[in-house]
Symmetry: C2
Subunit: 252 residues, 2 copies
DNA sequence: TCAAAAGTGTTCGAATTACACCCATGG
DNA sequence: CCATGGGTGTAATTCGAACACTTTTGA
């Protein structure tokens, strides 16, 4: 049974005599689940864990947790994100609340799904491997429990949608990156190819990039210039419409 | 206290011997709240009710309800929408889950907010006035309880955002409407004015409208042609990007 | 020396904007 | 007959799409 809820100080102040309650209403388990995206320079990846408790123990799932007594939902999402990746302050956005009564066969649980974009390289350094977490290419991820695949599908759509207009994909890149890497990322997300001349021009026209002196020589003999994000402009233009994508139809 | 939950038939089939449970987790009240938009031909309106129960009895609030035992969240939103307006099959979209532990001072309640777009004229005919519901111009709505104003604010943003690219605002219009009415609606939502020649051309270019033979003579002496929505094309193009708005910057 | 990836400019057509006059009619 | 709102066309500009060659350098 649910732990008996304490009356908080604030509530006690507001209702000093008797604390009324909503009688006769059903209470539910509420969870958060996080769709964590990363990009390794070549393809989009998903961070999954092997479930430690029944039901479906040993099966792959999104990272998630029940919401705690006095915990805000988004705080809960940040908590598990930090537990799993060691990272804080990463991009996190609420996706959708999933409430099908049958979604968890043990007991009805309403799940609020969030998606997060992280720099996969940051993660690799801070990995806490207690939970058997693993990155999977999004195109070859294993079956997931419950409705988690539906969540991932929705998160992919949302990511595409936002990325078409807002410079959100930089959240997936390391501090320094090259234009061809960036183009790879966009092409992976939209599952298409762009003309590199037009792509480069469009990106440069946003003025969001600062060219560095050094080059990445890993991926070509000539080498590609590194760029850094201009964080000032990025923050200022995040909600502006930048129109990255040639034909934004058939996104959702 | 929460009513004891029955084990459903389906669950009993899945776990015939012993039904495991998630022990030691807190359970929460979960509600839905609906931001209901309407358009009277001149300005955007909001349907509000006067609250029938403590706390904040008599204060204005969004329509809402606790989620029931075996009820899907969206079903719950449709249920209260139907109770309040008599309407079914209206446009309804999940907005956000609000989970601040202090948002309801009586007991922590997680609320999943939905926004709905309805034809205000349909409503007026089917009004069920048991609940003291009332339409308010969005610019002069009363104070709302809890975090409902925050919900309305977010819903307005979302509506603007979607309306900039998708033909969503037709959901607010009656079967027959005129182009100047449509322009009024867009101008109200975006709080700006458009050139009527360019607006008309843009709307016509979507091929979503079917011109009628008759005119609306209410608003001018010459009269304005009525149009109907081409429902086939509307359904097909709903997710296409139609670029209704001249400068979609500063939308969110 | 050559294969492989990086970088860069131009032209064309479509879309967007700005802008002004005539039309129909009820009062 | 005139005030009011409805309806339409054109020119200038901007933006997006298509397209090909040169550069660098490690192997």
């Amino acid at each position: 049974m649910a732990k008996k809820r304490q009356i908080s100080n604030q509530e006690a102040k507001l209702f000093p005599i008797a604390m009324p309650k909503y009688q006769k209403q059903t209470r539910f388990l509420v969870a958060v689940d996080c769709i964590i995206f990363g990009f390794d320079g070549t393809e989009l990846k998903l961070l999954l864990v092997q479930r430690g408790l029944e039901p479906e123990k040993g099966k792959w799932s999104l990272i998630g947790s029940f919401i705690r007594e006095e915990e805000d939902i988004e705080k809960g999402a940040n908590r598990i994100l930090n537990q799993m990746t060691g990272l804080a302050g990463v991009y996190l956005e609420q996706l959708h609340a999933f409430g099908n009564p049958e979604r968890d066969p043990i007991e009805r649980t309403i799940s609020v799904a969030y998606f997060a974009l992280i720099d996969i390289h940051q993660y690799e350094r801070q990995l806490n491997d207690d939970y058997h977490a693993e990155w999977f290419p999004i195109k070859s991820a294993p079956r997931l429990i419950f409705d988690h695949e539906q969540m991932v599908e929705m998160a992919k759509k949302r990511l595409r949608y936002k990325a078409a207009f807002h410079p959100i994909l930089f959240e997936l890149l390391p501090e320094k990156f090259t234009v061809p890497q960036l183009q790879n990322l966009y092409e992976g997300i939209f599952d298409t190819v762009f003309d590199k001349r037009n792509f480069s021009r469009k990106i440069q026209s946003t003025k969001l990039l600062i060219k560095q002196k050094d080059k990445d020589k890993e991926n070509s003999k000539k080498g590609a210039y590194y760029y850094k994000l201009d964080k000032r402009r990025y923050a200022a233009n995040f909600h502006a419409f930048l129109n990255f994508i040639p034909n934004p139809d058939n996104i959702k």
